[in-house]
Symmetry: C2
Subunit: 338 residues, 2 copies
DNA sequence: CTGAAAGCGCTAACAA
DNA sequence: TTGTTAGCGCTTTCAG
């Protein structure tokens, strides 16, 4: 491995001292423009690129943060990463990806490595936004941020989507297109997201003066098959719903598929709204699915912003819920009921 | 930011010199076991963690590699990353993720940053395995590896899935269950993957003594809607196929959906095989989809292995095609035809 | 077996 | 305006 040119090489070729060369290259200090230009020319010519390791060692900041994911680069992690990286790369901060896949030992090893590399901060992300135990390793007060993930540690800063208000948004939209007999088909009860989204659903009904007790809520799993099955159950009753809020887009897809199979028109007879805005799914349903977007990329971006604040010394703790938004496609019909 | 303990602190508390402390902590050299134990105890007690930046600066290796993706953390990048990270983390090598999203300028900036951080190697990955221009920045002979991506640079090492043999596998499977009137529905012609998979399809037919000219090939887009439309076209003819090899799972899903809508039984009347093994899709089709897996996680793992070899000094160039495999579910029927 | 010191590449404080 | 030097934290000779 041929070693790369150092600032000493640049200085030598430019006929100045290293100190001068350094000054010339970092904009800092006062220098005769002529000298500066010469140094820079040499640097460019020999392909000098400052060694950030040395810089970081000196400065005590590595311009690097670590991301620990328990979601092995899954569907939710990627948009978050995208936003995070976009935000951080503007400050020339690099992000190191670590996959722990729910293995505490791996996680600990990764944190050790990150600490060794003297990252300026760590963000923890997960497959679901439920509470998780704090990192097992003592991070010595390193800036720490949980995204799409929460911890018991009250000192930690956690950023999660606002499932409840997202669900209210969805429900309100169904009411807005004139529906009154709503139902909710969702995932496993043990997910906090399921409980929050149900709460949002119920709240919105109450706010509209409807009786939530009359609105069926079916909890199952996060799959199309469950969506189909649940739909069959709802339509076995005497008073089937005219609108269904689904806990995620997969369920919604199952629901819509089954409605079509039953010859029930969406959105003419029944309106459906999903959750996730998983585009490949939402755009492939027939008709395309109106759904809730958790704005995960924005969440990641915000995480980057907050992490930088933490790194810059502004302390901050607590749980922050970021708003969801409604993406209207065609599965609910016109906004104004006819 | 309270500064972390250094090896000097450890040495001082243990009553030895820094040199001794270093030896004690690195397994190297000869030391009285008693001394070693004492040093280690102190180190553990005060939470000493060696500063890898200093280590790297000294050693000239950063134990870090960069990944440049043009696929903004998309569906194909994820499994590759997973395998790569798993492989590399065993050697305690960290991976820095950079997203360039097809913007050459961003890409260049990222490469600069990586060079500054003195990464030991760079892997480039993409949304599709087609040829791309080499990195715009001079990497000074840094180990470089293209995964799921190729470049014109003949000196580069490129790892891609073997689309052609994957397609042969799929086609052979259809023939193996007794089908003879095959068709192929696929994506846009401009994708190399489309051309290779078609070639594999044709080869397999020829190998079986069938006339490829008689087997329709419909190129369109990578969507369910196209799958449905193409199926309608095939069944508008006098001699519809009894087996369809689809260029990806989305198309396959559209095909299967439409077959069901037409009341044609899968797999009794028609066999279908997909490509990608995108589990969420493949498992949701009715019946579940038999498909080709590009083994991207393994590809990523292999990339890690090869990159380590490059870093360790073994030169290697050229295009390497990694095998795909067949995942049998239920959309083709029994292996032995009745 | 252990201590002292040079040096990895860079920056910043101080001299000239 | 420019040069000199100490030091960031670690490893690795080379003496002791």
């Amino acid at each position: 491995m041929k070693t790369r040119p150092t600032i000493r090489d640049v200085a030598q070729l430019a006929g100045v001292s290293v100190g001068t060369a350094s000054k010339a290259l970092t904009e800092s200090g006062k220098l005769r423009p002529e000298t500066r230009a010469r140094v820079r020319a040499i640097a460019k010519e020999i392909g000098f690129r400052p060694n950030d390791l040395a810089h970081s060692l000196h400065r005590g900041q590595s311009q690097t943060v670590g991301v620990i994911s328990t979601d092995s680069f899954g569907r939710f992690t990627m948009p978050i990463m995208e936003g995070l990286e976009a935000c951080l790369s503007e400050r020339r901060i690099s992000v190191i990806m670590c996959n722990a896949t729910d293995d505490p030992e791996r996680e600990a090893r990764h944190v050790e490595t990150l600490l060794g590399k003297r990252v300026d901060g760590i963000v923890v992300t997960a497959r679901r936004a439920d509470r998780r135990p704090p990192l097992a390793v003592d991070t010595h007060g390193l800036p720490l941020l949980y995204v799409f993930s929460r911890t018991e540690d009250p000192d930690a800063l956690c950023l999660v989507p606002d499932d409840e208000s997202g669900a209210q948004l969805a429900t309100a939209h169904l009411l807005g297109v004139g529906r009154r007999r709503l139902a909710h088909i969702t995932g496993p009860e043990r997910f906090e997201a399921v409980r929050l989204r149900r709460a949002g659903f119920v709240n919105a009904l109450q706010a509209a003066g409807l009786d939530p007790g009359a609105a069926p809520v079916l909890a199952g799993v996060w799959s199309e098959a469950w969506g189909r099955e649940a739909l069959d159950r709802l339509f076995a009753s005497a008073q089937p719903p005219d609108a269904i809020f689904c806990g995620n887009d997969l369920i919604a897809r199952g629901v819509i598929d089954r409605l079509r199979e039953r010859g029930i028109d969406v959105p003419a007879a029944v309106s459906v709204v999903g959750f996730d805005n998983w585009e490949i799914i939402a755009e492939a349903t027939r008709p395309p699915l109106t759904t809730i977007d958790m704005n995960l990329t924005r969440l990641g971006h915000e995480a980057g912003r907050r992490l930088i604040e933490l790194i810059d010394g502004a302390p901050s703790t607590g749980l922050q819920r970021m708003p969801c938004s409604l993406v209207v496609r065609e599965s609910c019909g016109a906004r104004a009921p006819t």
